[in-house]
Symmetry: C2
Subunit: 116 residues, 2 copies
């Protein structure tokens, strides 16, 4: 039974998932799944603002999801662990089945738009 048990661990785990729960961060992680990239390259790949990317990278870096390596003026970022990518893939597979549900999961986002 290696599933989360104590509330402490649940808080941490929620924090971990929060790293994945934002489209911007997910774009970044997805881009990094192909290999290390500089901040500029991430900006270009995701279409996000530079400061926005830097903010998210700082968070992802603090969370240990990405690793940074400075090379001159550039800073290369990469996924810190293969399991980060595996999580993305597993979620992708899960989505293949529950996508319609997630599409309509607007409980907290939209009020109506619930017709079918």
């Amino acid at each position: 039974m290696l599933l989360v048990a104590n509330p402490k661990s649940i808080d941490i785990q929620a924090k971990l998932f929060r790293g994945f729960s934002d489209p911007s961060r997910l774009s970044i992680l997805s881009a990094l799944h192909g290999g290390a990239l500089t901040v500029s390259e991430i900006v270009e790949a995701t279409g996000l603002t530079q400061s926005n990317v830097s903010n998210h990278l700082a968070c992802l870096r603090d969370c240990g999801l990405v690793a940074a390596e400075q090379q001159g003026r550039f800073v290369y970022y990469e996924l810190s662990d293969k399991r980060v990518g595996r999580l993305l893939i597993l979620a992708d597979e899960l989505l293949a089945d529950v996508a319609k549900g997630v599409y309509e999961c607007t409980r907290y986002t939209i009020k109506d738009a619930k017709n079918g």
Copy 2:
């Protein structure tokens, strides 16, 4: 390369992860990992308010992460897919290595309340 590619899919995936990114929902999912439970049992297991649990369950249900089955006055909830549990387990394993990082990931959250 079955990783997320188009921005549309990234939005959906972020939504999926958002289902996991809250301690309350994670507690619920974790509790359900042991088998189907009624709302009352979930309330008892998690220590959350009844309305709070119901709200989260509605979201999780809409997202397709849990399934509900009514039995008399009770409604039994269970994980809708094994991969939901697998995601939790994989995250748990990943946490074993990056936990210290996640602990200190307070970029957007300054609250402590993390003493032990």
